[in-house]
């Protein structure tokens, strides 16, 4: 089951070089880690909800996917793919399709947490055999960093800017991974691009289940988060080490931490490197920094309890 890091580049890549994602983007790393983990004889239909990854990988007349690919709209990737998966079952039953296919949808956090939540929930409930990936960059990056349901508390975004009367986003993000887990599907995981071993293990499990699976993978965005493009993986690692983005899986209702930082770093170590949080270091927002730390601590404690772990 284990794939060594040096084996990954030798595998057949599904998303090729030459796509138009920004330098330093976390999303194609996520896509590669996940798709390279599939069994080697896998044929894919990849679907993508409107967003960075979609517009950057299928600029007509070019396409970066070595697979069949479809984009139909923003809020309906899982619904579109559920039609494809059903067609696959129907056509196989009628002997018109013989090969084995896997079905993967890539959507950003806007297309997953917000506008796509209904289609995602419906598809999960129906039990289609497909993997839904949220490459989570915590805002609407394709349109230029607008606030989403995944945008963290206190973060600047172009629609939650700080100013005379605001310190940035004034609400906590929603816990989408837990919402998905509440659908009681076979496999749910939260992942990060910095830990390929963990992501590969999760993707392998996701591809192995006979039903819906979901991976919410943090994919830092240098442009939107305001950090240098070479720091993407470091930023993802810090999200894990500060416990603002824990790595866990939910298998048949059982929650399990898949990695645990040796030392839980203060949240400041993470947010001080990102322009989107810089305003919080002004003296007048000192209390907000403390609030962010206490919220991280609270969520982390809850998760530990769910996973049967201690600090």
């Amino acid at each position: 089951m284990n794939i060594k890091l040096k084996e990954l580049p030798e595998r057949n890549e599904i998303i090729t070089a030459g796509h138009r994602m920004c330098a330093g983007c976390g999303a194609p790393i996520a896509a590669n880690e996940i798709l390279l983990s599939a069994p080697q004889d896998t044929r894919f239909v990849v679907s993508s909800s409107t967003g960075c990854m979609q517009v950057s990988t299928c600029l007509y007349p070019f396409v970066s996917w070595k697979a069949s690919f479809i984009h139909s709209a923003f809020e309906n990737g899982p619904a579109t793919l559920s039609g494809i998966e059903t067609a696959y079952n129907a056509l196989r039953a009628r002997g018109k399709v013989r090969d084995n296919f896997h079905f993967v949808n890539f959507a950003g956090d806007g297309g997953t947490y917000d506008i796509g939540l209904q289609a995602l929930s419906g598809a999960l409930e129906r039990g289609h055999r497909m993997l839904m990936v949220c490459y989570n960059n915590e805002a609407y990056m394709n349109t230029g960093t607008q606030c989403s349901g995944a945008t963290p508390y206190g973060s600047w975004s172009s629609t939650s800017p700080y100013g005379e009367c605001s310190f940035g986003k004034e609400r906590n993000r929603k816990d989408l991974t837990a919402i998905v887990a509440a659908h009681n599907i076979p496999y749910v995981a939260q992942a990060s691009i910095h830990n390929y071993r963990d992501t590969v293990m999760k993707a392998q499990k996701a591809f192995a289940v006979n039903g819906p699976s979901f991976i919410n993978i943090i994919a830092p965005c240098p442009r939107g988060w305001r950090f240098p493009g070479e720091k993407t993986v470091e930023m993802a690692r810090l999200s894990f080490e500060t416990c603002i983005w824990p790595l866990y899986e939910v298998v048949e209702g059982k929650w399990k931490l898949t990695a645990k930082p040796k030392v839980k770093k203060p949240i400041e170590d993470y947010i001080k490197l990102q322009g989107r949080f810089q305003h919080l270091f002004k003296p007048e927002f000192e209390d907000r920094l403390a609030l962010i730390q206490s919220e991280v601590d609270e969520q982390w404690s809850k998760l530990l309890l769910r996973c049967g772990e201690t600090e």
């Binding site: 396409v63 984009h71 494809i84």
Partner: protein, 400 residues
């Protein structure tokens, strides 16, 4: 042997779907369409078809799933109405632009607000420019026949556009009428099997659907190609209608002419109102008035040349619209489009517009009698600024 049964419009549509036996049917309930997806679900549950059903969580997802399934290579049918069609609006355009031959029955019901479950054409008229072919039905028989022909029209490689079969909510969908069903084998042979040349599940030749067309792309050319498909559809619809006549003894064209040969005054309408109007035509004919009816079956593509040819010798035409454009003085959609069609022709009748039946308001023989009497006077004095009248509105002053 064809069987004759007493059935509702909804059951007739479900029966057409059973006989077509599509690969995939996404379903979502909405009045007055619900009985179609209920009946079809029952057929699936009882093994009368081997279709794979998808219980979607909304009409938006139903059309999205229909798009995915069709792109994957499946033959797909579904049904909706009213708010459901409105909710699908975004995806209707994507289905037609990706050139996916989805077949859908829309049971015509008005749009909110106020919420009202009865028939008018605001829903399908709201989708008239979505790139779907639209076939309207006068009764349950036509709805059944249209649903079967729609498969062949949509999948024709010169067309490859989705087709919407329209049927009046409650008036047809819930009324029991005499319907002649074709033999299963006849329908099966007529629709054939769906074998697209390119599809997502073709492992020999993976393809991309819905790529991003940036500023220097080919969007304009795609749209022109889509329009060409709509132009090609005129002949394909005629051809499929002829083929259908060969197995059913019921012929279908772009529109039906009823006692139009020598008509001085003509009514133009769609859907179930045409049935009532045939009574009116007969009644006036018995009194020596040369009244005729032209029932439009195909609203998209709009049969411009053919309608002009059929109506150019008529003195006065009353165009009946069961929907409104709310465009100020312009009137209803059929009226506006017919006026456009005639603009470049010398021989054209006086065109008057009647808005009727909104929210299910009944259109009866008395109202039609008044309307035709009005039209006959128009023939003598064509100078009248008010070309749009409301038929059956509570305010009597409105009928002018």
């Amino acid at each position: 042997m064809p069987t004759i049964e007493a059935t509702t419009g909804n059951d007739a549509i479900a029966e057409a779907m059973r006989q077509v036996n599509p690969d995939v049917v996404p379903v979502y309930p909405i009045t007055p369409q619900t009985a179609i997806v209920e009946a079809f679900s029952s057929m699936v549950s009882n093994g009368l078809v081997d279709t794979h059903l998808i219980n979607t969580e909304s009409e938006h997802s139903a059309m999205s799933a229909a798009i995915g399934a069709t792109a994957a290579g499946a033959r797909v049918m579904t049904a909706t109405a009213s708010q459901g069609l409105a909710f699908m609006w975004e995806m209707l355009h994507i289905a037609s632009s990706l050139r996916l031959p989805v077949v859908m029955c829309n049971v015509n019901r008005t749009l909110s607000a106020p919420i009202n479950i009865h028939c008018d054409y605001s829903d399908s008229m709201g989708a008239r420019d979505s790139g779907w072919i639209q076939l309207y039905s006068e009764n349950a028989q036509e709805a059944y026949d249209n649903m079967i022909q729609a498969v062949r029209i949509a999948e024709n490689t010169e067309v490859l556009l989705p087709v919407m079969v329209l049927m009046d909510g409650f008036i047809i969908s819930h009324s029991i009428e005499r319907v002649q069903f074709l033999d299963d084998s006849k329908v099966k042979e007529f629709v054939g099997s769906y074998n697209p040349s390119e599809f997502l599940l073709n492992s020999e030749n993976p393809i991309a659907y819905g790529a991003f067309d940036s500023l220097h792309g080919y969007y304009f050319e795609f749209k022109r190609a889509q329009q060409q498909a709509m132009l090609n559809a005129y002949q394909v619809i005629e051809d499929v209608g002829n083929d259908f006549a060969a197995i059913s003894d019921r012929s279908y064209s772009l529109f039906e002419e009823y006692k139009m040969e020598d008509a001085d005054v003509a009514l133009v309408a769609m859907g179930s109102a045409a049935g009532t109007m045939k009574e009116t035509v007969d009644s006036f004919r018995s009194r020596g008035v040369k009244l005729g009816l032209l029932k439009i079956r195909v609203f998209r593509p709009f049969p411009v040349k053919e309608l002009v040819r059929a109506l150019s010798k008529v003195k006065t035409v009353g165009v009946f619209d069961r929907s409104h454009t709310f465009a100020g003085e312009l009137g209803g959609q059929t009226y506006v489009e017919l006026c456009s069609a005639f603009y470049n022709y010398q021989d054209r009748p006086l065109l008057k517009n009647y808005i009727y039946g909104l929210g299910g308001r009944d259109l009866n023989l008395d109202l039609l009698e008044k309307a035709v009497n009005g039209l006959m006077n128009e023939s003598e004095s064509s100078v009248n600024n008010c070309n749009v009248s409301y038929l059956g509105l509570r305010d009597k002053e409105a009928i002018t």
